[in-house]
Amino acid sequence: MPTDVHQLDDGAWISVNDTREVTVSDLWRLAGTDFCACRLTDFLAEGFVEVGVDGANVEVRIAGQCIQCGESGVTDWLTLGRVEPETADFRPVVPESVHRPSRRRRHATSP
C-alpha cells in the first residue's frame, strides 16, 4: 500500500498515513551540505516545506536555520523516517544524529 504523507498546520507537522508523527523545533545535525559554512550544520527545524516518499523512506525539506552561524533557508531532502513494509509503522530517524541532505528530488507531494 502506498505511503500517504502530508504536512499540516502551516508546516508544523508531518503526517504519515494520517497519523501526526513529527513536529517542528527539533535540532538536526547536517553534514555534506552547502546550507552554511559550518562543518556540521546545527539546524533548527522551524517548518516543514515539502514532503515526499522514496520507497519506504519519508523525505522532507525543512525551513529553518543553523543555530551556530545564523544562516537560514530551506534544506535539501532529508530522510525523516521509514515506514515498515510489514506493519506500516513509522520509525523516525534521530534528528540529532548526523544526516546528509540530498539534492535528488523525490516524489514530492504539495503541502
Binding site: 502530508h6 499540516l8 502551516d10 494520517d18 497519523t19 523545533s25 533548527l44 517548518g47 543555530i67 503541502p111
Partner: protein, 606 residues
C-alpha cells in the same frame, strides 16, 4: 495541483462541518476514524477548534471570535462560566492554575483543554449569549478587528461598529466566502488613533475624508466648501498586510476611497477576488500579501473594479495617518487603552492591564459582575491583550477603581507589566519553538523588580512570540522576542531573536532584528543593559522607538550584551519534548492523552 487541504475542503467545509462535529461529540473522540484525523482536524478549525500539540491528543483549543473585541458583561460572564466548567486539563499551570481565558492580539478569546464531547453544550451556552466560534480559525473571514470603543471615542471620525456588525453578519456563514485559499483578516478603523492596526491585515478600512462634488454628496457630508464640494467621511482601502513567516508586509493602498455604505460591497469584492485568484496550490504562497506582491496594487484595483464592484470606485481620500498614536511608540501619548479615558457621552471607559492576556475564569466572571454592577454595556478586548470596561459614570469611577478585581488587572500598571504580550507557545501550540506565557510573566516580574524604567517612559511593550507565525505580533513592539534555540555550554536551550524599535502609527516600521539566538535566561539581562544605554544616550525625551530609528544596524547590534542575572528560567530545556511543560512527570510517555470525555486515557494500539 490543489493541495491536500484544498481537497479536504472540497469534500466538506463550512457550515456543514457542524453536523459532523456534533456527531463525533455524541459518539466520542475515538469515533473519529484514525485515518481521517488530519482531514477532520483541519475542518474543525472553521468552527474554531484547533487540535492541541503532540502529547495532548484529543484536546482542543477553542477560539471565540468577538468582533472588534466587543462583548456585553453578560457575554463576558458566559465566557468565564464556560472556561470554568470546560477549560480544565489534567495538570494545572503553575502561574495560572486551572481554567483561564486567553485574550488574543486579534481580539478573540481562546480556551484550552476542550473535549470534543463537550462542544455541543459549549456551543449552546455561547450561542444562547450571542457568542460564536464560527470561522474563528480556518480559511475564511476571521474575527474583524478594530477599536472596541468605537462609538464611545470622543475624537473618532466615524463610529464603525454598525459597519463591523454588517460585515460580521454578511460574511460569517456565507457560502460564497466559506472557502478561501487561506485566512482572511480584516480591520476596520474609524478613530484617529489607528487602533484597528490595519497595516497588518489582509484588508483594512482606514479612516479618510474625501472631497466629493456636491452633486454626488449625501447626508453624511460634513461641510460644504466654497468650491461646491463636500467632505465625506469614509475609508481608504489597503490590502496585503501580515506578519507571518519572516515575510512581514504592511498593507498597501489600492487608491480607493470607500463610503461607509459601500464597505460591504468593497469587502465582498476583495474577498471574492482573493477567493478566485489566491494560490490554492501552495499554502505558503496563499495569503493575500503574496497576491499583492505578484500583481501589484494597480492590478488589484483594476480587477476589483472590472469584475467585482458595480459602481465606479473613487480614488483615495485624505487619510488621518499623521494623527495615529496607537502602538506608535511615542513618548508623549500612551500606545494602548490602559487607564481611565473620557467617553463621548461624558462617562468613562477604563482599560485594564491583563498580563500576557490571560485571565482566570473566576476573575472573568468577577469582572463581568463588576461591570454589570456599574452599568457598563460594553466590554472590549484590545489588540494588546487587555480588557476595557466602558460606560462608567464619573460619580461611580472611584468605587469602580477600588473593586478588588482591579488589584490584579490594573488600570495603572507598572510599564513592564502593561507592555508584556505573549502568544500561546509550547504549552499547547504545535508550531511554537519555546515556552512563552509563563516565561513572559517571569520576565515582567523580574524587570519590574530589578530594572529602573527610564525617566518619562510610561509605555514600553515587549512582544514575545514562540515562532515565526508571529501571533504575538513581535515585529511591532519596542522589544521583539521571537522563539529560537541555541546551545549553551553545549546543551540545546530555548532562546530568542531580539528585535528593536517596531511599531505602527504615522510611520509604521517593523523591528530591526539586532541580537540573535540569545539564551532565554539571558534576555532579561540584555533588556536591563539595553535600557541603561537608552537612558544614558537618548536625546532628551526621545522615545525608545526614535532612539532605535536614529541608529544604524551595526550600532544597534552593539548597544547591549545578553547577560545572566538573578533571573531564573525553569523552561530553558526543550519544552516541546514534554507532553506538558509544567507536569511533574513531563515525559511524553507520561501523557494521559488521548482521553475520553471524562479525561480517562483511551486505549491505544501501542
Amino acid at each position: 495541483m490543489p493541495t491536500k487541504v484544498e481537497r479536504w475542503k472540497d469534500e466538506t467545509y463550512g457550515m456543514e462541518i457542524r453536523e459532523h462535529l456534533e456527531r463525533f461529540a455524541q459518539e466520542g473522540f475515538d469515533a473519529i476514524p484514525e485515518d481521517e484525523h488530519d482531514a477532520w482536524f483541519e475542518r474543525f478549525k472553521w468552527w474554531g477548534l484547533y487540535h492541541q500539540r503532540k502529547g495532548q491528543e484529543s484536546y482542543f483549543m477553542m477560539r471565540i471570535g468577538t468582533p472588534m473585541g466587543r462583548m456585553t458583561p453578560e457575554q463576558l460572564r458566559t465566557v468565564g462560566e464556560v472556561a470554568r466548567e470546560y477549560a480544565t486539563g489534567p495538570v494545572s499551570n503553575p502561574e495560572f492554575d486551572d481554567a483561564y481565558a486567553d485574550f488574543t492580539t486579534r481580539q478573540s478569546i481562546q480556551l484550552h483543554w476542550i473535549k470534543i464531547e463537550d462542544v455541543p453544550d459549549i456551543f449552546d451556552e455561547l450561542e444562547s449569549a450571542g457568542l460564536s466560534t464560527i470561522q474563528a480559525c480556518g480559511d475564511s473571514w476571521r474575527n474583524i478587528v478594530g477599536s472596541p470603543v468605537a462609538g464611545r471615542d470622543a475624537e473618532e471620525l466615524l463610529d464603525v461598529w454598525p459597519i463591523v456588525e454588517e460585515l460580521h453578519d454578511r460574511f460569517k456563514g456565507n457560502d460564497l466566502y466559506t472557502n478561501l485559499p487561506r485566512k482572511w483578516k480584516v480591520a476596520v478603523t474609524g478613530d484617529r488613533r489607528g487602533a484597528g492596526q490595519g497595516d497588518i491585515n489582509d484588508l483594512a478600512f482606514e479612516p479618510a475624508i474625501k472631497e466629493i462634488d456636491v452633486s454626488e454628496s449625501d447626508s453624511e457630508a460634513r461641510q460644504t466648501a466654497s468650491d461646491g464640494s463636500e467632505e465625506v467621511p469614509g475609508f481608504n482601502v489597503t490590502v496585503g498586510g501580515g506578519l507571518a513567516r519572516k515575510e512581514p508586509r504592511l498593507a498597501r493602498s489600492i487608491d480607493v476611497f470607500c463610503r461607509p455604505e459601500n464597505a460591504a460591497e468593497v469587502a465582498a469584492g476583495l474577498s471574492g477576488l482573493f477567493r478566485d485568484y489566491g494560490d490554492r496550490e501552495d499554502r505558503f504562497n496563499a495569503r493575500m500579501k503574496f497576491l499583492v506582491d505578484e500583481w501589484g496594487t494597480e492590478k488589484i484595483r483594476s480587477v476589483l473594479q472590472e469584475e467585482y464592484v458595480e459602481y465606479e470606485l473613487p480614488t483615495a481620500g485624505q487619510g488621518l495617518r499623521e494623527e495615529y498614536d496607537y502602538n506608535a511608540g511615542r513618548a508623549d501619548v500612551p500606545g494602548d487603552y490602559v487607564g481611565v479615558h473620557d467617553q463621548a457621552d461624558g462617562r468613562n471607559f477604563v482599560g485594564l492591564s491583563v498580563l500576557v492576556g490571560r485571565m482566570a475564569a473566576e476573575d472573568v466572571i468577577e469582572l463581568a459582575d463588576v461591570a454589570e454592577k456599574y452599568g457598563s454595556e460594553m466590554i472590549g478586548l484590545t489588540q494588546r491583550q487587555n480588557v476595557i470596561v466602558g460606560d462608567i459614570a464619573d460619580e461611580d469611577l472611584d468605587g469602580f477603581l477600588e473593586e478588588p478585581v482591579l488589584d490584579d488587572y490594573s488600570p495603572d500598571p507598572h510599564p513592564f507589566m502593561q507592555g508584556s504580550i505573549a502568544c500561546t507557545g509550547t504549552e499547547y501550540c504545535s508550531l511554537s519553538i519555546v515556552e512563552t506565557k509563563n516565561r513572559m510573566v517571569r520576565y515582567a516580574r523580574w524587570l519590574t523588580d530589578n530594572v529602573a524604567v527610564p525617566e518619562g517612559v510610561s509605555d514600553f511593550h515587549i512582544h514575545l512570540s514562540g515562532c515565526t507565525a508571529s501571533c504575538a505580533q513581535p515585529q511591532i513592539a519596542e522589544i521583539s522576542l521571537r522563539g529560537m534555540k541555541t546551545r549553551k555550554d553545549g546543551e540545546a536551550v530555548e532562546a530568542f531573536d531580539v528585535g528593536l524599535g517596531g511599531g505602527l502609527g504615522e510611520n509604521p516600521r517593523f523591528a530591526d532584528w539586532v541580537e540573535m539566538r540569545v539564551p532565554a535566561d539571558e534576555v532579561p539581562g540584555y533588556i536591563a543593559n539595553l535600557l541603561e544605554v537608552y537612558e544614558s544616550e537618548r536625546d532628551g525625551e526621545e522615545s525608545f522607538r526614535s532612539f532605535v530609528a536614529d541608529r544604524e544596524e551595526d550600532e544597534l547590534s552593539s548597544l547591549a550584551e545578553p547577560e545572566e542575572t538573578s533571573y531564573e528560567d525553569p523552561y530553558l530545556g526543550n519544552t516541546k519534548m514534554t507532553w506538558y511543560p509544567y507536569a511533574e512527570d513531563d515525559d511524553m510517555s507520561a501523557s494521559p492523552a488521548p482521553t475520553n470525555a471524562n479525561g480517562e486515557p483511551l486505549p491505544t494500539d501501542d
